[in-house]
C-alpha cells in the first residue's frame, strides 16, 4: 500500500467531544445557516449513526480549519445484498485555508483512520454536484458515479425566489450599480414555462417587476419566451450560457417571439435576465 501524503502545517485527528463548538463555527462559516443550530444537532449530535471516530478534523496551531463527517449506514447493494457503508457527509474547509490540500488530507486521513479499520465499511457513498466531483472527489477520493437510475421531479408553485432575486437586483440599481444601462427601456416579457405558472417580467429604468399572470390578464407582452424548466436552468447557468442559449434556440426548446424592435431591445438587455436567472430561481 502507498503512504498518504502529510502536510506539516496542519494535522488531522479524530473528533473529540470538546471540538463541538469549533466544528459548529467552522460548518456555519462554510455552509451558512444551512447546517446551523437545529439542523446540525439533528444531522450529527442526535443522529443514531453519529460516531466520533468517523469524524476527522484538520487542526492548524490548535484551531480547527477543516472537518469531514462520515456516518455508518446499512446499505443495500441489491435487494439480497446488504453491507456496511458510510455516507460521506459534509466536508468543510475554512475559506482562508483553501487550496492548501486540507480537503484532500481529510479525505485520505479518514480512509486510513483507526475508526474505519474497526467498522470495516465496504465503501463510501455521497451526493455531489458532478462538476465538483470531477475536479475534487474523483481524483482525490477515488469516487466514481453510482449506477443510479433516479429521476428528480419538480413542480414550481410560485416565482417567489425569482421575485426575491429581482428585489436584490432593484436594490443594486437604486444603489447606482448599473448606472445608465437601463435608460429609456420599457419591455414586457411573458415567460411561458411548461409545468410552471406564467410569469410576466417588466423591465423599466427603475428596475425589474415580476408577477405571475394568468393567460388573458396580461397586457399584450412585447416579447413572449417559451421554454421548459430544464432549458431555463441551462440558459440561466453562468457556465456555457450563450452556447446553451444558441443550442436551445436551434432545436426549438427555447422560442422567442415579438416585433423586431422588441427583440432588439431584449437582445440589448438580456444581461438583466441573466443577472436574475443565474441565481437560484426555485
Amino acid at each position: 500500500m502507498n503512504r498518504m501524503s502529510e502536510n506539516k502545517d496542519y494535522k488531522c485527528r479524530s473528533y473529540q467531544c470538546d471540538d463541538e463548538e469549533q466544528v459548529r463555527a467552522l460548518v456555519k462559516n462554510v455552509f451558512g445557516d444551512f447546517l446551523d443550530g437545529e439542523f446540525w444537532n439533528w444531522k450529527y449530535k442526535f443522529n443514531p449513526d453519529f460516531d466520533p471516530d468517523l469524524v476527522m478534523v484538520a487542526e492548524k496551531d490548535g484551531v480547527i480549519v477543516g472537518c469531514n463527517h462520515w456516518l455508518l449506514k446499512d446499505f443495500l447493494l441489491s435487494p439480497s445484498l446488504e453491507t456496511k457503508a458510510v455516507l460521506g457527509a459534509d466536508i468543510a474547509v475554512d475559506p482562508v485555508c483553501r487550496s492548501q490540500g486540507v480537503g484532500k488530507t481529510l479525505l485520505h486521513s479518514l480512509r486510513s483512520s483507526e475508526g474505519l479499520k474497526v467498522k470495516q465499511p465496504s465503501f463510501v457513498f455521497m451526493f455531489a454536484d458532478p462538476s465538483l466531483a470531477k475536479v475534487f472527489h474523483n481524483p482525490k477520493g477515488g469516487y466514481f458515479p453510482a449506477p443510479d437510475q433516479t429521476v428528480f421531479y419538480l413542480k414550481i408553485i410560485n416565482w417567489k425566489k425569482l421575485e426575491s432575486n429581482a428585489h436584490e437586483f432593484n436594490e443594486q440599481i437604486a444603489a447606482g450599480k448599473f448606472e445608465g444601462r437601463l435608460s429609456g427601456i420599457k419591455l414586457n416579457i411573458l415567460f411561458k414555462i411548461s409545468n410552471a405558472p406564467k410569469l410576466l417580467f417588466s423591465i423599466t429604468e427603475r428596475g425589474v417587476a415580476i408577477g405571475e399572470k394568468a393567460e388573458g390578464s396580461v397586457e399584450k407582452p412585447d416579447v413572449t419566451i417559451t421554454a421548459d424548466l430544464d432549458t431555463l436552468q441551462k440558459v440561466g447557468a453562468r457556465k456555457r450560457r450563450y452556447l446553451n442559449m444558441f443550442k436551445a434556440l436551434l432545436i426549438g426548446k427555447l422560442r422567442v417571439r415579438g416585433k423586431p424592435k422588441s427583440l432588439i431591445a431584449l437582445y440589448r438587455n438580456v444581461w438583466v435576465l441573466q443577472e436574475i436567472f443565474s441565481q437560484k430561481i426555485f
Binding site: L76, S112, P145, A146, Q149, T150, I156
Partner: protein, 280 residues
Amino acid sequence: MTINKVDSQNLVAGFGAGKYEMRIFEEGDEAKIVKLFAKAYSNYGGYVRRTPEYWKWCCLQRPDVERDGILVALEKDSGEIVGYVVAGKSGNLWELTCPPHPDKKKIVSLLLGNAVSYLEQKGVASVNFTAPQADSVIKQACKEMGFATSAPPKMFLSILNFQKLISLMANDKADELKEKFSETLVIRIKDAPFWLSDTIRVKISRNEVAVDDNARDSTVQVDVDYLTFCSLLFGNLSSFGAFARFRLKVRPLSKTSTLLRLLSVLRIRNCWSFQLSDFG
C-alpha cells in the same frame, strides 16, 4: 378521482376520494411504513435500509418536517396503509412511497396532490422529490399533475475495502459461481488508491468461493484500472465493453470468455434508486 385540498389542521377519515382516504401520521405507523418502503423498493438497490428507528430519525425528526407533513393513504375498507409521503417545509418530499398496487396511480396522485396543497399553504416556492426512473406509474401521475423532470443530485461511490465487497458479492452469487466456474482469478489494479490493496484473488471451486489479497496460484490473471474495475462491479460498464475498449488485459488470452462470463455473474444487476431522505 378528485384531489381534495389538505386542511392540515383537520385531516379526518373519509378525506380523500373513492376507496382511499388520507390521514396524518400517527405514533405506531413507523413499522408499517418501513414495511411499505421495503416492499416498494424490493427490486432496487442503492439505498439505506429502513428500520423504524432510522426512519424516525431521517423523516419524523427531520427539522423541516412537521407531523402534519407526513401523510398516509389508507384503504377505507381494510384500514391498510397503501402509501405515504413525507413533506418538508423546504419543499422537499423526503419520501414518497407506494408499492405496486392496482390503483397505484390514484394513490400516488392523492399523495402528491395533498403534499403539494400542504406545501402551498406553507408558502413554499417549489416541490421536488426523487423516484425510480423505471416507475412509469409515478412518471404518469407526475406528468398529469404538472411536475417536470430535472437533473437529480448525483450519487458517487468510493471503495474502502475491495476484499470485503467482492467477498459479499461473490457469496451472494456463490451457487451460480460454483456451478459454472472452477478458477482462481487474480485481479491486479494498476492505479489502486493508497488505502486499497492492489491485488485481489477470487478462488472458485466446487466447495467454496474465497476472496483474499494473495497473488499465487492463479489460473486467470487480469490487469485493470481502478475506475474500470469499479464500473464493472457496479454495472456501469459491461465486461465485454471493457474488454473491447482494451481496458481489461487477460492472461492467458484463451480465458477471456471465462473471465467475461464470470464478471457478468459477479456484477450488480439491480437498478439503484434513492429517496431524498437518504441524503442525511
